[in-house]
Amino acid sequence: MATTLTPVLTDIWDKDRSWTLRTYEANGGYRGLRRALAMQAGDVVTMVKDSGLRGRGGAGFPTGMKWGFLPAPDGGPRYLVVNADESEPGTCKDIPLMIASPQHLIEGMIITSYAIGCRHAFVYVRGEVLHVYRRLLKSIEEAYAAGYLGTNILGSGFDLDITLHSGAGAYICGEETALLDSLEGLRGQPRLKPPFPAVAGLYARPTVVNNVESIASVPGIVVGGADWFKQMGTERSTGHGLFSLSGHVTRPGQYEAPLGITLRELLDMAGGIREGHELKFWTPGGSSTPIFTAEHLDVPLDYESVGAAGSMLGTRALQIFDETTSVVRAVTRWTEFYKHESCGKCTPCREGTYWLLQVLQRLEAGRGTSADIDLLLDLCDNILGRAFCALGDGATSPITSAIQYFRDEFEAGTHTPADVLFPPERSSLFAYTPRRSGAQLAGVHA
């Protein structure tokens, strides 16, 4: 095997009471903060820039560069907001990280705040993960009690408060400007950019918004240095990342590996596709990234290679589906999600996702028309690049890519229901007998 796992964040997940400050400190925690506080703030920014760390929330924007966009201090407040609204379908890395080792995030936030001159940082965590909220609240309390938060942190003269903020159920709040509006007590709808958050973010002040895993990776970079981080990954996609395998795989789970590992290698580690089946399609980074097939097993999972192969690395949410799965059913369900989560602010996304779903539902029911595939592609063409934020773009990705690789299944949707072609009980992980069949719903065409 060419590539091995590189546990950094996961390295304490299997320790006793891994979520406590005591365990975190016993395993090297908060050395990064001590080292950072002994450095000039600008040098910390430089170090993270040099490490090549890129945003782990999906877009892959260089983290240190994002910090560097903040204008020069003007005496007013500057904010760090951590995006812990993990909601992209298939993405399941930040939530387990925050349950197992929330102090990685807290230490990263303190270091980052020091680096960018922030005195009040926020964690925006989605509201649908109660125990994560408890663990974060407790870890913030522990950090205050230990002198890592509050005034004059570790005698450095640096002050920082962290506020934990719960969302209330809205995928769109993972978009950074919608998140900021939500944090300001408004409906979570994206803002027009520019101005970017770095210039006018939370309360119209300079703001850095970073993903949980990005910030949690900072303490290691500060301890090990930029060159340590760059020993992992590829030249332009450096470092370690959590790869989340789910679906029809023998041992789904979290695998922390250098960027550039391949699905073939990860599947070897995870015991392969479930027994007796073969890979049909997969997402490299959540439902908003165009799907891949078995022909992409050897694409290095780094930002450049995945992009060159026609998709996006996204959040490394590897949702694996075997040959029993109807791609039309999968794509229709994702489209239901986008239609439901569209915030309604812009017309292409609000109306487009609605109509996409109308067409897909009749294809899934085997009642599509011969013009439906072209209609879908035309709708996607009118959404992609014309929506206010990335939600609209993301909604088109599964559709256009699925038609590209599995056009015949969409064509079959003009005469045969998806659940006749692909009985859902063959895809499920347990045996059962479906009660309602699409064939009955579809009637004469079945």
Partner: protein, 311 residues
């Protein structure tokens, strides 16, 4: 993020149109003051305050909306506009337990659709409807970030992993019988909808140390790494910079035959030979050569295109 449908049957409940009594109002006002104190600007308190209202009334009641408006100097229309945007804010009295079946693509295909059918038939309610005994409000929920545990059911937003139709029905029966249930990953028992809402408003219930740190799928990568003796590159300076040496597991036989970690790296620097940050040749002193050091104009252009795609 539950999937919207127009409910056909709603549980009759209190309408809460009359406002809080003095004692309740004083108690909620004290809580609201604590919430406001967390933020530089008080309007930020609105989302947690709506959770607070749900902790009192079991949904976002008309009197709760009026309370938030009065506390924050907003109109009731402004508060309602926010409350109706987010699916966790319930517009009619919720059951003691929200049971959410993930029916997003991954869970649905792994069996979530079957679980939904079974539970909906068993309980006799549809999406966002509540059983007659007021115990369970059933929901179809969107991806809850536990795909490696699919199919997933959430009870008051605690994880019940790797469910089947049978296990989900048994779970619902326990809830309806008033017996405590234990999530796979979460507190030792599931609290009520109102208790949960109070935690989400930012008032801890002292239960953070209950439950596990991780389930089996979460630990599969690290377990494999331990078995194979795989580690990330050591920090420069070894134990001095990183964790204590004693904490490191003994590398197994396999590690001796395994190529260097992250072998795709072509210019890996030997861990012990890497310069210390701040020392000569360290990254902190290197000249401006990376993409991060290019002109501000280029950075701005790059960010505009990249941020447009950011989620």
């Amino acid at each position: 993020m539950s999937v919207e449908q127009v409910p056909e049957a709603r549980t009759p409940g209190q309408t809460h149109r009359t406002g809080y009594d003095d004692e309740t109002r004083a108690r909620l006002a004290a809580d609201a003051a604590q919430i406001r104190a967390r933020y530089p600007q008080e309007r930020s308190a609105l989302l947690p305050m709506l959770h607070l209202v749900q902790s009192e009334d079991g949904y976002v009641s008309p009197r709760g909306i009026a309370f938030c408006a009065a506390e924050l100097g907003l109109t009731t229309a402004e508060v309602s506009a926010v409350a109706t945007f987010y699916t966790q804010y319930k517009r009619h009295p919720n059951g003691t337990y929200t049971v959410g079946v993930c029916t997003n693509t991954l869970c649905a295909i792994m069996g979530g659709d079957a679980i939904w059918e079974e539970l909906s038939d068993h309980l006799g309610v549809g999406h966002d409807e509540t059983t007659d005994d007021g115990a369970i409000t059933l929901e179809r929920v969107e991806c809850n970030a536990a795909c490696d545990y699919a199919p997933v059911v959430m009870v008051n937003w605690e994880f019940f992993d790797n469910q089947t139709p049978d296990s989900a029905v048994a779970l619902a029966d326990e809830l309806q019988a008033g017996r405590p249930v234990t999530p796979t990953r979460g507190a030792d028992s599931v609290c009520t909808f109102k208790e949960m809402s109070r935690v989400l408003a930012g008032f801890g219930d002292g239960r953070a140390d209950e439950g596990v740190g991780a389930g089996e799928p979460t630990l599969r990568g690290i377990a494999l790494a331990r078995q194979e003796g795989w580690e990330a590159p050591p920090f420069p300076g070894g134990a001095e910079a990183g964790k204590p040496v004693a904490e490191r597991p003994v590398a197994s036989e396999a590690s001796t035959t395994t190529p260097a970690r992250g072998t795709r790296t072509t210019k890996a620097v030997g861990g012990s030979h890497a310069p210390k940050p701040g020392a000569e040749q360290s990254s902190a002193e290197r000249p401006a050569t990376t993409a991060g050091d290019v002109s501000p104009e280029q950075q701005q252009t790059k960010q505009q295109s990249d941020d447009a795609k950011e989620s």
